[in-house]
Amino acid sequence: MEQLLAAALSKGACNFGQIAVRKGFVLTHVDDVDLAQPETFRSPEDAIALAGFDDAGKYRPLKTAPNLRHGWRMELVDLGEVVRALDYFYPARLSILREWKEDRLETTPLRATLDRQSGMYRVAASISDEQIHEVVADVCRSDGGCLRRILWRRDASGTIPSTKLPPEKFEVPNEPLPLLCQEGCTILINECRKKVKAE
């Protein structure tokens, strides 16, 4: 993971979602690179609280939602600490990216994820393709929903889950550290369930 990050940083700074990773093991919000008086943090574990709430102090159930809190700066001592902090900000995204770069990332079609559910989520599997089209557009959209690029398909046919979203949403961008989604998350599954229940 540290190699992955070192490679991404070889040309200096780079962004990971809404985080600017800079030389000298410094992290800030991408909007705060030149911020005059940020609140400074020095432990990777401080990222748990920073990632936990948005600017309004509201809990962030989805860490890859585009509402990362502003006003802080993290000064760490080595690449290992940077990896750990980034793992709190965007859990597992570096691991997933590494697998994708090594060409061994497994993605799971949404229908397979839905069919696997049990208990109160079992009903979500009866969602229609048309409803998936709506729900995915709503939950996963990059403006206000989620910053990840979607690599999973609707079903085994390989169909894109929602044409309401721009085609780029389903492609890996040409950036050093893209945020990728290999499988529908718990929030999406819950929204699928709600959609089915509402009909």
Binding site: Y59, A92, S95, I96, E99, R104, L105, S118, G119, T186
Partner: protein, 255 residues
């Protein structure tokens, strides 16, 4: 265990950060001790997901999975094995990995000792002879056996004969938390929630049922209610010594 990896599984929540906080803290503590080559968490309702951990641990040779749950139940028996593709307590994967599925933290015999320690710390130097100890569990939790686990702990503590009384109480069924005044006869009452994390239940619901008016930092000073002294502890799962029990569950698997 130095070549092995540890995965601690928590429930997590999409509405508040309290649910995952102790699990993350225990993981950070165990990581700091350098007992395992790798320590990570995964959650049912938060990131990283259980599915993510298949990638997170791709390079590990051997992964111990410890559910940070109070008891066996729907999550430990259905959700976790399904999401992690485990078959039984030992799973050999095609890539040569071995995943070892340990028992939930709450099942470890050390839990009794921890409950006792927690109770005596919150009760300070209070004389135990005229003291009742109440262990709070959910009740009406169809899928979980947390009430069974709580009963087992109460029986073990009662058998030690240290307290005047040791009782199970529940939030949603009898014997109820709110009936503590009639359920107990002692001058002092110590209340310990047998939960994995703090949250609305421990910050608001239980204090209200106990008749504590204070909100916010409810765990501090003892309360004087109806001429009795009431001591109220945070959820047992927030105790830093939970980290020791997580490690002990791994050792338990190995023997």
């Amino acid at each position: 265990m130095r070549d092995s990896a540890l995965l601690i599984v928590g429930h997590g929540s999409t509405v508040n950060p309290d649910s995952s906080a102790p699990t993350l803290a225990h993981a950070a503590e165990i990581r700091r001790r350098k007992i395992f080559a790798q320590v990570d968490c995964a959650f049912w309702k938060e990131e990283p997901s259980l599915r993510d951990s298949l990638s997170i641990f791709r390079d590990a040779r051997e992964v111990y999975v410890v559910p940070n749950f109070i008891s066996e139940g729907y999550f430990t028996q259905t959700v976790i094995p399904r999401e992690l593709e485990l078959n039984g307590s030992l799973t050999k994967r095609e890539n040569g990995q071995v995943w070892k599925y340990c028992e939930p933290v709450g099942s470890h015999p050390m839990m009794t000792e921890l409950l006792l320690q927690r109770a005596s710390e919150i009760g300070r130097d209070v004389d135990l002879a005229p003291t009742s100890l109440l262990i709070v569990a959910h009740g009406t939790d169809l899928n979980e056996n947390s009430a069974v686990a709580a009963k087992r702990e109460v029986e073990r503590i009662r058998a030690l004969g240290k307290y005047a009384e040791v009782l199970n109480v529940y939030m949603e069924e009898a014997p109820r938390v709110s009936d503590w005044r009639t359920l107990t006869k002692s001058q002092n009452v110590i209340v310990v929630p047998f939960f994995i994390s703090d949250g609305l239940h421990s910050y608001e619901d239980i204090p209200e049922l106990l008749g504590i008016e204070k909100r916010g930092d409810v765990f501090g000073e003892p309360y004087k209610i109806d001429n009795r002294l009431l001591f109220y502890a945070p959820s047992i799962g927030t105790d830093p010594r939970f980290a020791d029990i997580i490690v002990a569950q791994v050792e338990n698997f190995r023997t």
